[in-house]
Symmetry: C2
Subunit: 420 residues, 2 copies
Amino acid sequence: MSVKINRLSNGMRIVTENMPGMKSASIGVWVNVGGRHELESQNGIAHFLEHMAFKGTKRRSALQIAEAIEDVGGYINAYTSREMTAYYARVLENDVELALDVIGDIILNPIFDPNEIEVERGVILQEIGQSLDTPDDIVFDWLQEVSYPDQPLGRTILGPADKVSKFSRDDLSGFVKENYTPDQMVLSAAGSVDHNAIVAQAEVLFGDRKPGNRPAFVPGTFSNGERLENKDLEQAHFTLAFEGPNYKSPDIYTAQIFSTAFGGGMSSRLFQEVREKRGLCYTIFSSAGAYSDTGTLTLYAGTSGDQVAGLAEITMDELKRAADDMSDEEVARARAQMKAGLLMGLESPASRAERLARMVAIWDRVPDLDEVIARVDDVSTAMVRDFAGGLVQSQAMAMAVYGPLGSSLSVGDLQARLAA
Amino acid sequence: MSVKINRLSNGMRIVTENMPGMKSASIGVWVNVGGRHELESQNGIAHFLEHMAFKGTKRRSALQIAEAIEDVGGYINAYTSREMTAYYARVLENDVELALDVIGDIILNPIFDPNEIEVERGVILQEIGQSLDTPDDIVFDWLQEVSYPDQPLGRTILGPADKVSKFSRDDLSGFVKENYTPDQMVLSAAGSVDHNAIVAQAEVLFGDRKPGNRPAFVPGTFSNGERLENKDLEQAHFTLAFEGPNYKSPDIYTAQIFSTAFGGGMSSRLFQEVREKRGLCYTIFSSAGAYSDTGTLTLYAGTSGDQVAGLAEITMDELKRAADDMSDEEVARARAQMKAGLLMGLESPASRAERLARMVAIWDRVPDLDEVIARVDDVSTAMVRDFAGGLVQSQAMAMAVYGPLGSSLSVGDLQARLAA
């Protein structure tokens, strides 16, 4: 393995992996801050900050930031999740130094020009509008909200329009000061990269920053709940969440194998039962998402209003059946899908840099491929059945549905069906 | 270059490129058939066929198709466009032979079981519903419709629900017989692949098929037109199309460079004027799409109903300004973006296989990188200004808008603004 890790004296971690034969690289900084580090009054500010990073620094205007990267044909972007904010660029190999210079600049030196704050507020309000116009996007926000009610983890990333309308320059600066400290950052790069050069440059850019002392965030507590919004759409967008393991849990691979076999591909049970046998939907999938202290197994399907209650019942029946008779062949297939997906992901600089950053953020090291594969191989059919059985037994679930609602549908009904 | 091309005696072309260091491959068959090869009564059948390919063959049930690929951790998918239907898989290197066997099977041997046709009809009707629930998806269908009215090229890929509800087994078989002939197919593979082995296997799978004799499709004729649908959404989803070059035109690189500089990235004029300076939208972009006989330069922006007419006017003003003063720096930056994008794309087996297939389908050969870069470098600032000037002068444009419409907006108004 050519993974190299360093830690600056202020706690910032740097991880790189050189990929022979590559002529490009992906490089970025992953900051351990996201929606769940916000107070309720701050909801949306982590994402607002991510936008403002691109709106001008002490050294570059917004236009100069864009031009610096695009002059060399590169690409720069960012995202905010519940626990992480990432700023990353994809460039050709000779431009890695430039990319890191720009990324360091926008993270460390944003000036929060009051005029630019007002302009960007308009952009984010449009982004909120776009999300509201995308039913299979907004319904997942609602699912999160009912899974973790009245908790930071349950709030949206974008925040509500009324809060986004009010954030001030001081709000932004205060949030940066508390959260954008080097001990919360991982610099990650993969592709055609030189570890020592990146470490030296990081020392210059980030080395004089002091570590922070941020309070721990509020732990997430999964809750049963539901939100059904009747709306005149073509489809009822149906989502369900079960509580799953956090990403450090020994069960995490079992949850992922279960999710793959249950609803992760064309041969999965949900795809076969709901789409292939009955033709009830075009899109149906499950996925296992994890946070540092909790996790959720989520399902999505888009179907007609008069079919959604029936579809929900089928998912319950399939869950019970999986607990009873998930086969060795299905579990072996899910293992093969996970392992091949991992191998193929490693062939792309962008997904490799993302994985390195996440591993270092979580584990402070990067488990090598053999170690991960061994853990995937350790997941037995009995473990997968037991995992499904645990979901059946606990009956803990949250549901969000958006669209035409043909017949009655409730978490209580679904729990009763599980118990039957 | 390690690109290798063969042609079977029945006209099927095979193109592969081995990528040293890769442990996986992407392989697929690109068939020269799509929405524009349909009669009006057949609208949606090319896409219906793509779905039926996965629903059982002489050798495999639908479940066995999915299991064959997913047992080895691979991934199989397909898409239908206006001119092309592609079936492709991503697998680890030892499973390339298996993947080609499955792809050949689903393309050549679908059985069109009547029960499966009925089930899949339901799936496709759900897919149509999903598209209708996605405003920034459906508005592009409308834009295509008003750009090429009453022509095969203007119709949707999915087809209207009433036609999809009626296709019969004979309709499907007839369409296959006419269009799925080996002279219309390109087999393409990239990654860890062995050209000779793939050619030998293709000969066995496809070698006994006879070439076809399909009539030429109806040429596309771009037309001014508009479709505005008032709807209570958060955003007005605004799209515009100008006529552009076809993909064999000498102007194609000029159109792409213009599109990149005009609305292709963060430093582009539209992004800067509309989003960065005025905060009117979150998403705005232009892109240059091309067919074999025509092309379109399209714009998209999502904004508020009361801002959409103003936003449309700004795009007209920016187009005029681009014709006057697009700078050497902007054109150089767009060239750099295109070249770097090309280089980075080549690092992924999937995008490389796609490019190989398209190049062979269009040119019967794969231009090497230096040749493409030379053509990009040949595009001068004067050529880009002239291209923009041609759009201003012709005033030919089509528009589709979906959402709240605050004030009056018409192609006529925009043409008048261009002429002013």
